[in-house]
Symmetry: C2
Subunit: 333 residues, 2 copies
């Protein structure tokens, strides 16, 4: 099934022409505590395993979507106030998603995106961007889709966007259907106001291997990949229990172990994928040293060299003094 | 089966009292190209998978073994000329091995060990030490055992010692028998005179987790461990082919990937085992950068933070200029 066919299936019976002149939406970025690494369907961004994240509240993406003037040659795309040419990576990715909901081939959109995720803070903005885009399209066309369907639509832009339709903890179900209609984010009811996430930016250089290519390589050539789905299932159970009981030590240890397992998969992929820099290891060891000295802080890392810290409000002064460069976010504040 | 029972089985019908006053032997250290990580029998050091190494020629251990004066309270042990007390880790480990061949409980040995492996060069000396000890005991008692049996005896002291009974490439067969009599090192016939091994010492601090404990943890808690034996089998086939064809690129790439897979197992073990230091990653990236610039050099790493380089004689000037601190060994010189 193609992404457009999936979108058509989802939008069957819904209006396909704009209902309002323009629509605006916001979606938060998210950080995964149980990671997404590997697709069972590359075109539809269907994962081999579920994942679980926490949304980052005020850090995310605002999107304004409207119809362009008739006759426009291409979608008009701007990011943080700056117009982008149609050949830029951002505009191409946005237009590819807009193709899924485009009323007819000559219809053009105006899309203004603005990130409150600091570009240099090490949080990805593609998840919040596609989630906000799906919400804006829903409002523009008047679809009135349930959150699950918006999550499916957002997922077609970027897998992890499936987790950015809600605040708080979100579990992205892997699903089993070939069309992916059962693969969407489901919010957990629990709130954890004292939870904090810190981002330590160690490098803003472009990744040597993008996530899409890296996942493909791991699924096809990592000899340990077969162990990943079972591991994630066990980690998800532990994370759900940690969240239900506000058990920071269990949450932190599980997130840390899960991210190390993902990086282990990458390392055992052939050829290997190594995102860690020397500074990454230094920060990881600094987190362990902090814990040995009684500071309850854990880490997680995405497919990149930067390190995210997980801790509670009470530990914030100690964490800030040890990691002075960290950007601290309160996901439930 | 206990190690003593295994030794008794092996020595059945052989003399159990010294045949000569003293015996001397030498065995080389070795560096694994396909790693040993995990035991199927902890007491007998029987591995879950085979491994393959290259012996380091002149870097190894000399051992002199004799009977102590009657009435000695304990084995007399010296290392590099310095007498060691019976409670030192080295003397205890040596005496535990000597228990396997001790003629009667009151018999005491004099053991003088001398390493030509530079202590600070990052090569392990336990493999060469136990291999030399097995050879010295063979000569002292006049057993005249075949190399396979000496490999089994050496293995009872340290797993990787099974690979140190011969020069050149040695494959340690995992074996299937519960008594381990089919788990020994087998030399490969090929010689590769231009092969070089370099050792980059980044830290001489004690490892945070010893190999024995680390292997135990990985076997019991690493969710990817089940994939290891199959991976090693494939890597061994590639290494045998590389050796037969003097294919340095295949040898290097396979050794590098195998060691990264071992470190991936460690990383995914719970709690994780991380031997790499920031400098380790820096050196790994420097090797990759060198290769990108045309210098044919690869790395391998054991259960520690140090990096070993693999290359051929023709690349030695380029390697030495990029890694000026490396100790270079010619295994077949």
């Amino acid at each position: 099934m193609t992404p457009r066919e999936a979108a058509d299936l989802l939008l069957a019976g819904r209006p396909r022409v704009p209902a309002v002149a323009a629509a605006e939406a916001y979606a938060p970025a998210n950080i995964a505590l149980a990671k997404y690494w590997g697709k069972r369907d590359e075109a539809l961004n269907l994962p081999t395993a579920p994942s679980l994240s926490v949304s980052l509240g005020p850090l995310g993406s605002h999107v304004r979507l409207s119809a362009a003037e008739p006759g426009a040659a291409h979608d008009g795309v701007s990011l943080n106030g700056a117009p982008l040419g149609p050949e830029t990576a951002f505009a191409r990715r946005a237009s590819a998603w807009l193709d899924l909901v485009r009323p007819d081939p000559d219809f053009r959109f105006e899309l203004q995106a603005r990130n409150t995720v600091p570009t240099a803070a090490g949080f990805a903005s593609s998840a919040s961007g596609f989630a906000a885009l799906a919400k804006a399209a829903d409002a523009l066309f008047g679809w009135n889709l349930p959150m699950e369907s918006l999550s499916v639509l957002a997922r077609l832009g970027s897998g992890s966007a499936a987790r950015s339709l809600a605040d708080g903890f979100v579990e992205w179900r892997a699903g089993e259907r070939a069309d992916g209609m059962d693969s969407f984010g489901v919010p957990l009811p629990e709130r954890w106001p004292s939870l904090r996430v810190g981002a330590c930016v160690l490098s803003s250089r472009e990744k040597p291997v993008g996530s899409r290519e890296g996942m493909r390589r791991s699924v096809s050539s990592c000899p340990f990949y077969g162990g990943w789905p079972g591991l994630v299932a066990r980690d998800l159970a532990a994370l759900r229990s940690a969240i239900a009981n506000r058990d920071m030590a269990l949450l932190g240890a599980t997130a840390e172990a899960n991210c190390l397992a993902m990086h282990a998969l990458m390392l055992a992929t052939r050829p290997p994928i190594l995102y860690a820099l020397p500074e990454t290891l230094g920060t990881v060891r600094a987190v362990w040293a902090a814990r040995e000295e009684g500071v309850p802080v854990w880490f997680t890392m995405d497919a990149g060299p930067n390190v995210k810290l997980l801790f509670e409000e009470a530990a914030e002064p100690a964490v800030r003094s040890r990691f002075p460069g960290a950007t601290v976010v309160a996901p439930f504040a």
